[in-house]
Symmetry: C2
Subunit: 288 residues, 2 copies
């Protein structure tokens, strides 16, 4: 995963504006939030889903960069005092702490905007049809019936008696939709047709659930030192998670079952899908 991270960080370095002019502070904040040493999981998924379809490397890296800045915007806005009110992210002060709230709102807006600018550029793919398909799919995944809808549900979750189905819906929107985009970006860039998109979407959906359950497990069982962010927040906020519903052991078992299903979704591919196959079991064992 380190290799994908390095490649996408070089691309991000090229694509994000260098600080300049009276408004240089906005560029600084965009870069501060982006270059914070994350796992770059979504770029990893874009690059390896693209690897199944002989996609041009430059195009895959640009799509990977686009989803990473979009993911970063969602973290910056999520951390705001009026949202999750987090002071710490990946072991560093969050954007509104390092800068100020207004700059963090604007930097998030600018990162969301540049995601679409990156995809629209002809260097992403020679076919404008393909670029429009990526843009439409990303907007759908990130919009009010996707990620943002999930964040909205998350906000009302603390006051609601959520069951397992509601929690799964919440996560499929809040984090799952961007994973789905990341895994569909490969077949879209490779113009590979709906059957391939469907398989990779199935993989992404289950992989995303494993990611979320293990994230919730870490919130219960890990320390802020290890994860680089505050832990124990779900319980403090009274939020239902699959861990609070199934218990720690039950959630671990559920995650293992779903991880197997995610791997099985890739049965039609050869060894070029091995990195994607390795991810769900890797997530089961993660400590950060």
């Amino acid at each position: 995963m380190g290799e994908a991270a390095k490649a996408v960080e070089e691309m991000l370095e090229c694509l994000l504006p260098k600080p300049h002019g009276l408004h240089g502070r906005i560029h600084e904040a965009m870069r501060y939030a982006t270059f914070a040493g994350g796992k770059r999981l979504r770029p990893f998924l874009v690059l390896h889903s693209a690897g199944l379809f002989a996609v041009n490397r430059q195009g895959a890296l640009r799509a990977a960069a686009a989803i990473e800045v979009l993911h970063t915007y969602s973290l910056v806005h999520d951390d705001l005092p009026c949202m999750d009110d987090d002071d710490l992210r990946r072991g560093r002060p969050t954007a509104h702490k390092a800068f100020d709230e207004a700059t963090a709102v604007l930097a998030g807006d600018a990162l969301l905007t540049i995601a679409f600018e990156i995809l629209a550029h002809e260097e992403t793919h020679a076919s404008a049809e393909v670029r429009c398909r990526l843009i439409a799919r990303l907007a759908e995944a990130a919009g009010s019936n996707g990620m943002i809808g999930g964040q909205m549900i998350d906000m009302v979750a603390a006051e609601s008696a959520f069951g397992a189905d509601d929690v799964i819906l919440l996560q499929r929107l809040k984090t799952g939709q961007l994973f789905e985009f990341a895994c569909e970006a490969g077949p879209i860039l490779g113009q590979a047709g709906e059957r391939h998109r469907g398989r990779l979407r199935d993989y992404a959906r289950d992989m995303g659930l494993v990611f979320q359950i293990t994230d919730d497990l870490l919130d219960v069982t890990s320390t802020a030192e290890k994860t680089g962010k505050a832990v124990g927040k779900d319980k403090d906020h009274g939020k239902a998670t699959l861990v609070s519903i199934y218990g720690v052991d039950g959630a671990r078992r559920e995650a293992a079952t779903i991880a197997d299903r995610a791997v099985a979704a890739l049965d039609g591919y050869g060894p070029e899908a091995d990195e994607l196959r390795a991810l769900p079991p890797f997530l089961l064992d993660r400590e950060t």
Copy 2:
């Protein structure tokens, strides 16, 4: 202008999701902010710049809707407590007052996102190249070197000794860039070539300055009752404007000169440009 407003509002009614599901609150907030009876000036510019190039009505209306939701997002975020902290917009509570801050942040994000989704859809234009050109231009106009850059400068303006050139730069980014996009959308949709884009950009730049100067004049000379928003805020916040630099009469004279120049930029067009020609003088006389 009322006719353009009515047509774009019908399109927005179709394009914005109806409230549904556990996340229906996000759709309600998006609609609350959008259907607030604004002047729909940017859609007017899109529709009339499109009118110069025999553009398909459906496509022009979709581009008009896209810029209006993008403009609405910028108002929602601008009104937040950490930004301009406004309680009143178009005579009604602002989104974070009618809902809450977190919902307002998310609704702004969702409106920005759907702007690109609308443009990417094939109903906007049969050519995906044209759709990508619109998306790239809108992202540039709205991004960190466009509108958001202008808002960033605006935030530091209160503490800076800004001259007329700095204030003009600020306005060209903060409000001018979206006007430029609106006026360029016609020639882009009509595949009319750079010469036409250049003319309409010149018109937009000057029209935008007239808009801004007359807005600043209203802030000094009008009442909250007439404008539907708080007045006297620029002075309270110590912000430099062309009115504070040139004085009320000097700013009025400057606006009249720029308005003439805006009209002259349209010299190459026939009577189909008359609505655009009428706008700068209309702005000089506006009371809201």
